[in-house]
């Protein structure tokens, strides 16, 4: 049941004035919240008190707060999106933490995701990878009837599982190698599984992997940290599929 128990936490937050400035941790003690308050709302509460004191609030990315837009990030107590599994930061509630606990909040750490300010990072690299080939090449208006190509339910469901990726970057943040393989493979898989995407599958996978490498993401060493931390539980079987698609495509060159 909803409770009005007040709880207090200490927030140890990374503050950084700009991309080139040097950052550091600042600890805000005894931030009052309740177990039914979300983590981001607790940051809102803290920000409100900072503004009251005339200080600049902590900057962090967030938008839908429904766990779907992929905007929120934050590395909380050693986990991207915090300690809850299968959930984004905006779906994290304070009852996950103990009264009086010190919670460490850091931005995503990866060379490809530079910090813009405080906890906000630039994930533009993900867009660039998608632009390299994450689409089916056809123009609006030219489509045939939607039921003209039957697609097996198994394939459609699996493509859907891959397509569930919200592009938040938790996989990169979790990976000790800063690898984006889970993200890229999810998109490659979705299209590779569907007849619409099959046509240009070889071209797509080569273009997207090349872009990923170019942008300085690391190499996958199959630690499975990405899969364990992914808020949408994207499986690394996607990575195996991408490897397969990529190697086959290259062998045909």
């Amino acid at each position: 049941m909803a409770t009005d128990n007040i709880m207090k936490v200490n927030l140890k937050v990374w503050r950084q004035a700009g991309p080139k400035e040097k950052g550091g941790f600042v600890t805000y003690e005894n931030v009052e919240t309740t177990p039914d308050t979300s983590f981001l709302e607790t940051l809102d509460i803290l920000n409100e008190s900072l503004i009251e004191k005339g200080e600049e609030p902590i900057v962090f990315d967030h938008d839908c707060r429904d766990g779907i837009c992929g905007m929120c990030s934050l590395y909380i107590n050693g986990h991207p999106h915090g300690p809850a599994t299968g959930a984004t930061t905006c779906q994290l509630y304070m009852r996950r933490f103990k009264n009086g606990e010190t919670i460490t909040v850091e931005p995503w750490r990866s060379a490809a995701f530079p910090v813009l300010k405080d906890l906000m990072v630039n994930r533009n690299a993900f867009d660039q990878i998608q632009q390299a080939g994450g689409y089916v090449s056809f123009n609006c208006g030219g489509a045939q009837d939607a039921n003209a190509i039957p697609i097996s339910k198994v394939d459609a469901d699996e493509a859907m599982d891959s397509a569930t990726c919200i592009g938040c970057g938790a996989c990169v943040a979790a990976c000790k190698n800063g690898s984006a393989m889970l993200f890229v493979s999810a998109k490659v898989s979705q299209f590779a599984l569907l007849p619409q995407g099959r046509v240009e599958a070889a071209k797509r996978v080569k273009a997207m992997v090349a872009k990923m490498d170019e942008l300085g993401f690391g190499n996958c060493t199959n630690t499975r940290a990405c899969e364990a931390e992914c808020p949408k539980r994207i499986s690394i079987s996607n990575i195996a599929r991408m490897n397969r698609e990529f190697l086959c495509a290259k062998l045909k060159d």
């Binding site: 919240t33 707060r65 992929g70 300010k117 533009n124 632009q131 089916v136 919200i166």
Partner: protein, 659 residues
């Protein structure tokens, strides 16, 4: 008084769009390359319009406030998208979809627009499937459908509970293809601040780079706004935190009429507000109403005990429960349209039957479904929603609570209505052009298709219809005589002046140096709006609202405090700009609601209801689109213009969901 020309084509309803396309002016490919279009927003409408126009050959400048076009709030839509495919052979047709949408909108939508929407709905599904959107399928490999509120056929296509996400990612993929091809230039983390007019036409925008904090000038031959709705005027809503109405208000200030602002949709199944520190409300999918039963206690004593926390919902036996939707609307039961369900919940809570500590919640109960189908089946259908609910409120709705007189009871969910969608928006004609030449509005940003209430799974349909299949045609009718107009220089006087105006506004905001944060004032705004301009409105409440909003504007102008500097990223400053426009929007909503002396769809005036508490329309006096025309000054009252509605195909009736 300006006259309103909605430019509806001649001919019978079913032939209007075909006729229009056959006779409209087009731009040839060589000329398309010479024309630039600004598209603001990257949701379903914005991304689909930007990519389709680019595919045609226009040069597109595309803006979004998020860090990536993929994060626009269309992504949060759960349920599905309607189309009149009739794949289920259950008697669906373009006409039926058209009829359901007009009826669902309480006969306040423009007939011709809705018919066109129903007509192109089928193309949308084809387009999305070709893009690789993984819609749900049957074992035979063909597309699956589900049913949704307000319809008697299964016409909703879906991709798990993430249809909006998948459709948006489809549009985003087309957009990416055009970005790679160099036809779309994408500006992320940019926010529109003003629309630049040259010789009476929209010719560009001033946008703020939210990272560097600098205002930048962009010129084009036409400007398209796809910037969503104004639900966040109420502070607490199911909209994303960044959703705002500043672009629409900027257009309004430039002379674009704002139509039907009082039509605000309140979604019945949201998680109730738990405290004053809350920033956002969470929507639980409408699909829960398929198996969940909504109730409050019959006895006021039980309600009192629930409010004090002395008993739990599962302690109340069947005979003491009031399933008020089933009682009032036997034919549709728990599946009545959203506005009806929301109002009924409010009515019970107003009478003191609310079931949580604030008295503002009703139960959504799955005991009957679990007893009938077993927990496994119920969890298969709603497991992810149950988990989501548990994460937020620490109650597991599938958990057995107790047995009374041989009946097993499970923990119910608590729900309450919340602001979800805005049917009103910038007025547009049949071509989706606002009353400002060269300025177009698509998606939730315009007012056109949903009348006074939107049916579930229709928002996605409208956004994509506008972006993929309507605007790319109609905009050419405008651009065809612009081919000789050379590109505009963003360093010309009009642009420089507009930028200076934005900078001056920014200086003014920073200089207030009062005591209150943006959010604290926004919360006050939300409180006024919900209290006086919310689900039930009266003449008095609306007048109070207008007075209070005036005071609030004063408070904003004199007591706002923005920390930090003008230079560089300043999130509070950006929010302050938005709040300024939300206050303006609040006044518009209240004014429109006050002027509309009837109840219809999302607009419920308590003075105008039947004896049973149903909305009472006044078709004789209010059968029009209310268009508000800015008078050049925020302090001047806007002028109300009326676009009369003409129904040729449909007979206007009283909405009936009882039998």
């Amino acid at each position: 008084m300006a006259t309103i020309d909605s430019k509806i084509p001649e001919g019978p309803i079913a032939e209007k769009w075909t006729n229009y396309k056959a006779h409209q002016k087009l731009v040839n490919p060589a000329n398309k390359r010479k024309l630039d279009i600004i598209v603001v927003g990257t949701g379903l409408a914005g991304a689909s319009a930007a990519s389709t126009l680019a595919e045609m050959g226009f040069n597109i400048l595309n803006f979004c406030i998020q860090d990536s076009p993929r994060r626009a709030h269309s992504i949060a839509a759960q349920g599905g998208i309607n189309a009149a495919k009739n794949y289920q052979n259950d008697g669906d047709s373009v006409y039926r979809l058209f009829y359901d949408t007009v009826k669902g909108g309480d006969y306040r939508a423009r007939e011709a627009n809705v018919y066109r929407l129903a007509e192109v709905s089928n193309n949308i599904i084809d387009q999305c499937v070709a893009q690789g959107v993984p819609f749900a399928r049957e074992y035979g490999g063909l597309l699956a459908n589900r049913s949704f509120g307000g319809a008697q056929v299964s016409r909703t296509f879906y991709a798990k509970g993430q249809t909006g996400q998948q459709l948006l990612l489809g549009a985003y993929s087309s957009l990416n293809r055009q970005i790679k091809a160099g036809k779309v230039k994408s500006y992320n983390r940019y926010e529109l601040h003003d629309i630049v007019m040259v010789d009476g036409r929209a010719r560009g925008i001033i946008a703020k780079n939210l990272v560097t904090g600098e205002f930048e000038r962009f010129a084009a031959h036409a400007v398209v706004l796809a910037t969503g709705g104004y639900g966040n005027t109420y502070f607490l809503s199911t909209n994303a935190m960044g959703c705002n109405c500043s672009a629409a208000i900027a257009a309004y200030r430039k002379g674009a009429y704002f139509a039907n602002p009082s039509y605000v949709q309140i979604h019945p199944t949201c998680i109730p507000v738990h405290g004053d520190k809350q920033s956002k409300l969470t929507l639980m999918s409408e699909s829960l109403r398929n198996d969940g039963r909504i109730w409050v206690p019959k006895k006021i004593e039980d309600a009192k005990k629930l409010q004090k926390g002395e008993i739990k919902g599962s302690d109340i036996p069947e005979e003491d429960r009031d399933y008020y939707l089933e009682r009032r609307y036997p034919a549709f039961g728990n599946l009545v349209p959203r506005d009806v369900a929301s109002r009924a919940a409010k009515e019970r809570c107003d009478k003191g039957f609310g079931v949580n500590n604030t008295g503002l919640a009703v139960f959504l109960d799955f005991s009957e479904a679990i007893n009938r189908l077993g927990i496994d089946v119920v969890r298969q259908r709603y497991g992810n929603l149950f988990d989501m609910y548990e994460e937020i409120s620490d109650v597991n709705p599938g958990e057995f609570a107790r047995e009374i007189n041989g009946v097993k009871y499970y923990n119910p969910m608590m729900i309450f209505p919340a602001i979800h969608y805005t049917m009103g928006g910038l007025w547009v004609d049949y071509e989706l052009q606002t009353s400002v030449k060269g300025l177009f509005a698509i998606g939730e940003c315009n007012f056109s298709d949903h009348g006074a209430n939107r049916l579930g799974a229709s928002a996605l349909m409208q956004g994509l219809a506008d972006g993929y299949f309507v605007l790319p045609y109609t905009i050419q009718n405008y651009l065809s005589d612009q081919i000789t107009v050379p590109r505009f220089d963003p360093n010309s006087k009009e642009f420089i002046d507009a930028q200076k105006k934005c900078e001056a506004e920014q200086d003014a905001l920073m200089k207030i140096k009062g005591k209150r944060s943006v959010d604290s004032i926004h919360k006050d705004l939300g409180h006024i709006m919900w209290e006086y301009v919310g689900m039930g409105r009266t003449k008095e409440s609306l007048e109070t609202a207008l007075t209070k909003l005036k005071e609030l504007r004063k408070e904003f102008e004199t007591n706002l405090f923005i920390p930090g500097k003008e230079e560089g990223m300043n999130v509070e400053l950006d929010k302050a700009f938005r709040l300024k426009d939300f206050i303006m929007m609040g006044e518009l909503i209240a004014r429109d609601a006050l002027s509309r002396n009837e109840s219809c769809g999302g607009h419920f005036r308590e003075e105008y209801q039947t004896e049973e508490g149903e909305a009472k329309r006044d078709d004789e006096n209010y059968f029009y689109v209310g268009c508000w025309n800015y008078q050049g000054d925020d302090n001047k009252e806007p002028e109300l213009l009326k676009e009369p509605l003409k129904y040729e195909a449909i007979k206007v009736q009283t909405r009936n969901y009882k039998s």
